[in-house]
């Protein structure tokens, strides 16, 4: 059992009861604040520094060869808690030499930014590392339709990120050396 200790308060002295010394010291504090460095960030001209691991607007990225990474497996669509992602899967044509390593690619890929909660599950779940929440934090539009990012916009926002694994290059090399799985 904790005992409550009542603190004895000293009665205020005469100078304290006039408030004046306290007011004077307060005035001193505010006056010294006048010349201190200002903390304001002049927003549109100055931008805040974005910490690593920041979850901004979700975007689609291309691999270093400029190829589409997404294979429209629809895992992100499945995992997305607010159901902001909608993917229309499509086939990669057989005769496309550039993208012969994959069979499928999204025909349309939409992320509704009015629904998105920036949780980052899509980035976490993507087996191809094709979707990333990058540094962009300011998004605006004049209508609901404008707030739905389609595939083109998503690639424009995402750009190309350096690939750590070169998954498909390795697979191809394995295949050529007769070590396919």
């Amino acid at each position: 059992m904790i005992k409550t200790v009542v603190m004895e308060r000293k009665p205020l002295s005469l100078s304290e009861r006039t408030y004046l010394p306290q007011i004077a010291s307060g005035l001193k504090t505010t006056f010294s604040n006048l010349f201190k460095k200002k903390v304001t960030l002049q927003y549109p001209e100055q931008r805040p520094s974005i910490p690593s691991g920041y979850r901004g607007v979700p975007t689609l990225v291309k691999d270093p060869n400029g190829r589409e990474k997404c294979v429209s497996c629809q895992l992100c669509e499945f995992v997305c808690p607010p159901k902001a992602i909608r993917i229309t899967p499509g086939h990669v044509p057989e005769d496309d030499e550039e993208r012969s390593h994959v069979e499928k690619a999204p025909e349309e890929f939409e992320i509704n930014m009015l629904r998105c909660i920036y949780c980052g599950y899509c980035e976490e779940v993507c087996p191809e590392e094709a979707i990333f929440l990058q540094e962009n934090y300011s998004l605006s539009g004049y209508s609901r339709e404008e707030m739905i990012n389609n595939k083109e916009e998503l690639y424009e926002l995402g750009g190309t990120l350096p690939d750590k694994h070169f998954k498909w290059d390795k697979k191809k090399a394995d295949e050529e050396s007769g070590n396919a799985h």
Binding site: T29, N33, K36, K37, V39
Partner: protein
């Protein structure tokens, strides 16, 4: 009517218009100063975006003025002017429209007796620069400035809703309590100035100022009177720590809760005009008006340049005092209503009385000593 009278009338009207516009623009820039100083004290930058297109083109001065927010009052005024006028359905229309005017007029009327400089012509004849050099100057100021509370009370009452009503009641109570202390605190000043043996006399503000020429300022002779007057001035101008009629935190907006657009703007400007006039009156009473420094003769020669410098010096003192008003506002929290009342009646009034009695005895003693 003869031509001379018309000429004189036209001249007086011109003077009055000039004076009103100067005081109003000082009030407007006081609002800016308030925002800027507040921002600086809180580690912010304050308004720094508004700029006129042709000014922004000037290389160094343009951005400097922009960062100081020099054009912000213009934008604020325009905003008040062009906002939609909303009149709530439950108000008493007549008094609702009347009260902003009643609030503004006294604030602008007190400036008529306010001397702000003097002009000595080639013959050595000195005229004070004042709209109306009335002999009962300070009485006129007190009489008119306390009428300003009617605007607030009317606004609170005609708004017909609880928060403005509370604001109005508080305001009238506060005004009554501090008016007494204010009047009593300046009495010793006039006793001192009008003591036998002194050359100046009367209640005129000009004579008060001139009694401080080549002599110590009255704030040095009577620091306690000045202190009491300053506290009462804070209460009279409804500034923090005594801004009972507004108290944003507990009364929404106080007496002007139901007001919007230009009518609110008038209240706003009236409040700052009170601050400007109050500072100017404190300067004339206690800080030597347009005279240079205590015990030091005016370094400027009489004449046009001299009187302009004098007016500038007067304005500089006034601006320092306005800065002090703003500084205190952003330092102190608000008193509780009962504390304000207690301070006014139980502390300030007795102190002012004691101060008065002390100076009555002192002045009598000095007179006796001088006579014998």
């Amino acid at each position: 009517m003869d031509i001379e009278l018309i000429q004189m009338l036209a001249l007086k009207v011109t003077y009055a218009v000039v004076m009103v516009s100067v005081v109003m623009s000082i009030a407007g820039y006081t609002v800016l100063a308030e925002r800027k100083v507040c921002a600086w004290m809180q580690g912010r930058v304050g308004p720094n975006r508004t700029v006129l297109p042709f000014v922004s083109a000037i290389p160094i001065i343009g951005p400097f003025l922009r960062n100081l927010g020099m054009f912000q009052p213009l934008a604020d005024g325009l905003k008040f002017l062009f906002k939609e006028e909303i009149v709530p359905g439950h108000v008493n229309k007549f008094y609702y429209y009347l009260s902003p005017i009643v609030a503004l007029v006294p604030a602008l009327t007190t400036m008529t007796v306010l001397p702000f400089g003097e002009f000595t012509n080639a013959e050595g004849h000195t005229t004070p620069l004042v709209l109306a050099n009335v002999d009962l100057g300070i009485l006129f100021v007190f009489a008119i400035s306390s009428l300003g509370v009617y605007g607030i009370v009317l606004a609170g009452w005609s708004s017909n809703s609880k928060y403005p009503f509370l604001g109005g009641i508080r305001s009238s109570a506060q005004m009554i309590s501090y008016e007494l202390a204010m009047g009593l605190s300046v009495l010793p000043v006039f006793l001192w100035v009008n003591a036998p043996g002194m050359t100046e006399s009367g209640l005129s503000l000009v004579s008060i100022v001139n009694s401080q020429e080549n002599a110590p300022w009255l704030v040095l002779i009577q620091p306690f009177s000045a202190f009491l007057f300053l506290i009462a001035l804070f209460a009279e101008t409804n500034r923090l720590p005594f801004d009972m009629p507004e108290s944003e935190t507990d009364l929404v907006g106080g007496f002007h809760t139901e007001y919007g657009s230009f009518k609110f703007g008038i209240f706003f400007v009236a409040e700052y005009a009170h601050v400007v006039i109050g500072s100017a009156i404190f300067t004339t009473l206690f800080l030597g008006g347009w005279h240079f420094l205590p015990w030091v003769a005016d370094p400027w020669a009489p004449g046009l340049i001299g009187s302009l410098l004098g007016v500038g010096w007067f304005l500089a003192k006034t601006f320092c005092l306005i800065f002090f008003f703003i500084w205190v506002r952003w330092t102190l929290p608000r008193f509780r209503y009962d504390q304000v009342m207690k301070l006014g009646w139980a502390k300030l009034l007795p102190l002012a009385l004691v101060n008065l009695i002390f100076y009555v005895i002192l002045v009598t003693y000095l007179d006796q000593a001088a006579a014998s």
